[in-house]
């Protein structure tokens, strides 16, 4: 098993599916989009592959301390199309992450370009690392 699979599994354990009633009744198949997550001094960057998703079909929200990415893909196809081979079985994407309280959820920036969603989640001012000056006594 490669390292990547390990990462994916760990990420999936932190994710939760929406608990709302109507969602569980209408349980459609969703794909889990591939993501990159990096952190630097000022915050976290999440990059997610959402091919076929336009801006109006993307829903990014913070709910109960979870960052939720939901999106619907729409690919222009002619009428009467019969699908023969599908590696992406479902046209909708869902992924959620828990956010620790040291992030400033009011200042999340989202940018969707060419099917790639880039989220910037800044750390709140209080939680940024500070160097503490040591004075000689």
């Amino acid at each position: 098993m490669s390292d990547t699979t390990e990462v994916i599994e760990r990420e999936q354990q932190t994710s939760v599916t929406p608990r709302t009633q109507e969602k569980s009744r209408d349980r459609r198949a969703t794909s889990v989009p591939a993501v990159d997550v990096f952190e630097d001094q000022t915050g976290i960057t999440v990059v997610a592959d959402l091919p076929g998703v336009s801006k109006d079909r993307l829903d990014v929200k913070v709910q109960d301390g979870n960052l939720v990415i939901e999106a619907e893909a729409s690919v222009p196809t002619p009428d009467g199309l019969r699908l023969q081979h599908a590696e992406i079985p479902a046209p909708s994407y869902f992924r959620a992450f828990t956010l620790s309280p040291d992030f400033d959820t009011a200042k999340i920036e989202a940018n969707l370009q060419g099917g790639v969603l880039k989220l910037r989640i800044p750390r709140s001012e209080k939680a940024r690392p500070r160097r503490i000056e040591v004075k000689l006594g």
Binding site: Q13, V32, V37, F38, V75, P76
Partner: protein, 146 residues
């Protein structure tokens, strides 16, 4: 930890299971041009009466750098996707890197009735849609019974 995992839908669980099985039985013979599951870009293929529609899910690419060609009944999609992490920045911690980065090539065997002279390709929202027309003679037609 499993209690925290509100069972997501069954299909993606099966998908994960299938990938494990594929890893185990990877050595068995399959179609000579078949690629392992999870190859980039993922491809859906459909047909209509007049055309063959191929959709490659390849987000984050510059359409000018995508190479789409047809040769001997094989449709080839190739290109490169550059990694986003700026290396050299030692302060950056990477937690997940699931997105594909690097060069890719996917080859799709077109059916016999494909007409390689009539192909359109467009790149919309990170999806490459290729439409290959079929030969006139291969279109379905009803035969009148006399």
């Amino acid at each position: 930890m499993s209690d925290l995992y509100f069972g997501s839908d069954l299909f993606s669980e099966f998908d994960r299971f299938q990938r494990r099985i594929d890893e185990l039985f990877g050595g068995f013979p399959s179609s000579i041009r078949a690629v392992r599951r999870g190859a980039f870009p993922q491809v859906n293929i459909g047909v209509t009466d007049d055309t063959i529609e191929i959709v490659a899910f390849a987000p984050g690419l510059n359409p000018a750098e995508l190479d789409v060609s047809i040769d001997m009944g094989l449709l080839t999609i190739s290109g490169e996707r550059k990694p986003l992490t700026p290396d050299g920045d030692s302060d950056q911690k990477v937690y997940a890197q699931e997105r594909f980065a690097g060069t890719f090539r996917r080859v799709i065997e077109l059916p016999q009735d494909a007409n390689p002279d009539k192909v359109q390709a467009r790149y919309v929202d990170g999806c490459l849609c290729v439409t290959v027309n079929k030969h006139e003679s291969s279109k379905p037609r009803s035969i009148t019974v006399q």
